[in-house]
């Protein structure tokens, strides 16, 4: 425990091998998220980014390697047990409960919590943090626009009072206006002390707000380093992220 704490790693993946049937997705992957940081995992299609997220959340079990959260091994735990330990999830494509109201969606985010008064407090706090969500609070989540849904998904994840929040492509499919808004919010959430692990295809955007970045290529971490260095690294621009063509 103290070992993990002293190094400041909140999340630590080591030696992860993952398979889908006979196809190997991850090859001895190592990855850390330090306490209080925003860490982004970059990579193209089929690089294994989303599977990394699933491994952390316990939706996919690795064949080898361990996932440690706050110094404790969570590799074999069920998804609900992992969530209960303080990890929040903003899934790919948001995955709101479309037939439930926005309010019900937010409260589902606090499903594992029993401290009712505190939940109500957090609920009010979310309405303050996401005024757009507050306006739509009694609408069915499925009727919201993509950007609004992304806000709800983030607020829903925060309702669990996570120490680490995992986001799978939070800017995917959003209008440019909402992309900026979402990035600002991620930075704001992080300032309040929540560590962030995000998977992104849009490298230049993600590196703007991240502290540290990893580049995943066909299941292997090909590059890693502080976000500022990665953003300037020509290898990133050329080899892994498609150069100028996709930037911004």
């Amino acid at each position: 425990m103290s070992e993990g704490g002293s190094r400041g790693d909140l999340l630590e993946l080591s030696g992860i091998d993952t398979f889908y049937g006979p196809a190997q997705v991850h090859f001895a992957m190592n990855l850390e998220v330090r306490r209080g940081q925003i860490v982004c995992l970059l990579g193209g299609n089929a690089s294994g980014k989303s599977t990394t997220m699933k491994v952390i959340l316990g939706l996919v079990k690795p064949r080898a390697g361990t996932v440690r959260f706050d110094g404790q091994d969570i590799t074999g735990l069920s998804t609900p047990a992992i969530i209960a330990r303080g990890i929040g999830s903003v899934p790919e494509a948001r995955r709101l409960f479309g037939a439930m109201t926005v309010r019900e969606n937010l409260l589902m985010g606090a499903y594992t919590r029993r401290d009712r008064a505190e939940v109500n407090h957090d609920y009010d706090r979310m309405l303050g943090l996401f005024p757009r969500v507050a306006q739509r609070i009694n609408n069915r989540a499925g009727t919201l626009s993509g950007g609004e849904q992304q806000m709800v998904a983030m607020a829903r994840a925060l309702m669990g009072r996570p120490r680490l929040i995992c986001m799978d492509e939070p800017t995917m499919g959003l209008s440019p206006l909402y992309v900026d808004r979402v990035l600002e919010l991620i930075a704001a959430i992080n300032k309040e002390g929540v560590s962030v692990f995000m998977v992104e295809q849009n490298a230049s955007l993600a590196l703007q707000i991240a502290h540290h970045g990893y580049v995943l290529r066909t299941g292997v971490i090909a590059l890693s380093g502080p976000a500022g260095e990665l953003a300037r690294d020509p290898r990133i621009r050329d080899a892994y992220l498609g150069g100028e063509r996709t930037a911004a």
Binding site: P80, I83, P91, E104, M108, Y111
Partner: protein, 607 residues
């Protein structure tokens, strides 16, 4: 007028009973996209738990009801844990078939425990009736209505206001996202099964008291009615299930009022088909799109089939053909003749269920059409038997395809439900169309097998006829699988959207497959009719459809040789081991469950 009010009241009461069944089915479908075919068996179990409490232990009614709810809820939890949870992540058809297996096991278990004799379950309520307009309402009617209303209200409150209720709704909408909110979806499944089983059991108890009659054979009809009500309301839609149940109850009640009680089920299944074809999302779904069904190969487990060398098959056929020359083979011949006829049915089913991927549960209807066509052609039109049998094959191909045609636009579970309904409708039409089919009396004196002037009614001759037809049609079907047509069928199974994008007309190919399938099934039914010499509308019931599907799964979906092996195993083995008829269903159920769990691709593998 008074009579109409009575029929309305009766319809609403029966509708309430259906609602108790259908709500549970809707909850389960919502959470796990599974049609629980064991629901009717739980309903029967509820009736018998109630009987035990009321008649043996002499408990008062509230205690009886509580015992039924708790006992059945526990049963539901066990079913979920033992029968279904191990199948999480397997092909989508697997849990549906598992519930069919579970229902066989439960029904047979109850029959062994209580004997198949019907029992009376008198209502302990006072016998007064209130006059309402010109109709009357009794105490039991009020109890049933109150039970329905209270259950609906409690369920609504649970789903709307409780933490677990929210988890149920969230899981129904997106179970993976619900897990990421920390919802234990296993617990949700367990809860839903407990609620569904508790309500289903209560329904059985109330029905038993309403008709003052319970027996162990009432499960299947109860499942069907619950499923029909749920489809009318929209699969997985809980309020819809209640509305659908009331509508079904009223439709049946008015149908009975107009045409007589033998029309009750006909109305139910025709309503089912109409809704499936016109509003597959149910009457209350609005313009919502049909929920995405599995696209590629997830409905049936793919595998590499076992390659059995041709000479081995030829040797087996030769040995089978020589069997009648052995002394003392009469009993074996009788069993195997039956097996060959079942094998014909199985290769017919394996073409549509396995090769084409349309899991039909209505093949008993095809058998009935074939049997009646041949019998009536031979008896009433004087056609010689050797002509009436192939003619029956063509009649079945044409009629069967025409009847299933409305189901062609449906996919996966919906196909199974629709074909099940169609199979039931065939039996009910035969029952009610007296001028053509002799109605409930059945057809007696069906002439024995002949070819020209040669009598073929000896056990040896019947055996050879069945074997020869099986070999002929089996060879033809094997050849067909290797052709362009066979490949097209498999393409439709694996991804019908992609097949359509390649220019394949789904309707045309489905029609062709059902026609080929109908021909073989019709021949099987026709030969059976001439061997039995007496047939009626219950000669082949939906249980036969399910048995045929078990054979197909046992052998490997789509695998012709596998279908034959499955048929021989399931008709022959119980004879070899001299199991009594009582245990047979139990064995079928267990075989189905074990195969789905441990070898879903069947003995020879899916082809």
């Amino acid at each position: 007028m008074g009579a109409w009010l009575d029929y309305t009241i009766n319809g609403l009461i029966v509708g309430n009973i259906y609602a108790l069944l259908a709500v549970g089915l809707a909850l389960i479908f919502g959470v796990s996209h599974l049609i629980n075919f064991a629901q009717g068996s739980i309903y029967t179990a509820g009736a018998f738990i109630g009987w035990t409490c009321a008649q043996r232990l002499g408990t008062p009614l509230p205690v009886t009801m509580a015992a039924v709810v708790l006992g059945c809820a526990a049963l539901g939890v066990v079913i979920e844990r033992v029968g279904l949870r191990p199948l999480a992540g397997s092909a989508r058809i697997a849990p549906l078939l598992a519930t069919i297996g579970i229902s066989f096991v439960l029904d047979q278990g109850l029959q062994l425990l209580y004997s198949p004799d019907p029992r009376s379950l008198p209502s302990p309520l006072p016998a007064w009736r209130i006059q309402v307009g010109r109709g009357t309402i009794g105490a039991l009617d009020i109890l049933i209505a109150a039970t329905g209303l209270v259950s609906a209200a409690v369920l609504f409150g649970f789903l709307r206001f409780s933490r677990l209720g929210w988890a149920v709704r969230a899981t129904a909408q997106d179970s993976e996202a619900a897990r990421q909110m920390g919802v234990n979806t296993d617990a949700v499944n367990r809860t839903v099964f407990a609620i569904a089983a508790g309500l289903g059991g209560l329904s059985g108890l109330l029905v038993g008291m309403y008709y003052n009659h319970i027996d162990t054979a009432m499960s299947f009809q109860a499942t069907l009615k619950g499923v029909v009500a749920q489809v009318i309301g929209g699969m997985g839609n809980v309020p819809g299930a209640i509305a659908g149940s009331l509508l079904l109850g009223l439709t049946e009640s008015y149908g009975v009022a107009l045409f007589g009680s033998s029309y009750r089920n006909l109305f139910a299944f025709v309503l089912l088909l109409i809704v499936l074809v016109l509003r597959p999302n149910g009457l209350f779904a609005g313009r919502q799109a049909m929920s995405p069904e599995p696209l590629t190969g997830t409905f049936i487990a793919p595998s590499r089939p076992w390659d059995v060398p041709r000479w081995a098959v030829a040797v087996c056929v030769l040995l089978a053909a020589l069997l009648p020359f052995l002394p003392n083979s009469a009993y074996a011949l009788q069993v195997l003749t039956n097996a060959w006829l079942y094998a014909l049915l199985a290769i017919s089913l394996t073409l549509v269920a396995g090769t084409l991927g349309q899991v039909s549960l209505g093949h008993a209807g095809l058998l009935l059409i074939g049997a009646y066509a041949s019998a009536l052609l031979a008896l009433d039109s004087g056609l010689p038997v050797w002509l009436s049998i192939p003619a029956a094959g063509f009649v079945t191909a044409a009629l069967g395809t025409a009847l299933t045609w409305p189901a062609f636009r449906l996919r996966s579970h919906y196909v199974s439900i629709a074909t099940l309904g169609i199979g039931e409708i065939v039996g009910l039409v035969i029952l009610n169309w007296e001028s053509l089919t002799h109605g409930p009396m059945g057809v007696t004196g069906v002439p024995p097998l002949t070819a020209g002037t040669v009598e073929l009614d000896s056990p040896q001759a019947s055996y050879w006829v069945a074997l020869a037809v099986l070999v002929l049609l089996g060879l033809m079907q094997s050849r067909l699988l290797g052709t362009h047509l066979g490949r097209t069928f498999r393409a439709i199974r694996d991804d019908d959207v992609a097949a359509r994008a390649c220019g394949v007309s789904l309707d045309r190919y489905k029609g062709l497959a059902f026609a080929v399938s109908g021909f073989a099934a019709g021949i099987s039914g026709a030969i059976s009719a001439h061997l039995y010499s007496y047939i009626n509308n219950e000669t082949f019931t939906s249980q036969v459809s399910v048995l045929a599907l078990t054979m197909v799964i046992l052998g490997g979906m789509g695998n012709v040789l596998g279908a034959v092996i499955g048929a021989v195993a399931l008709t022959g083995l119980p004879e070899v081991f001299r199991f009594t008829a009582e245990y047979r269903q139990l064995i079928y159920g267990l075989v189905l469950l074990l195969m789905i769990r441990f070898r879903p691709q069947g003995i020879l593998g899916t082809a």
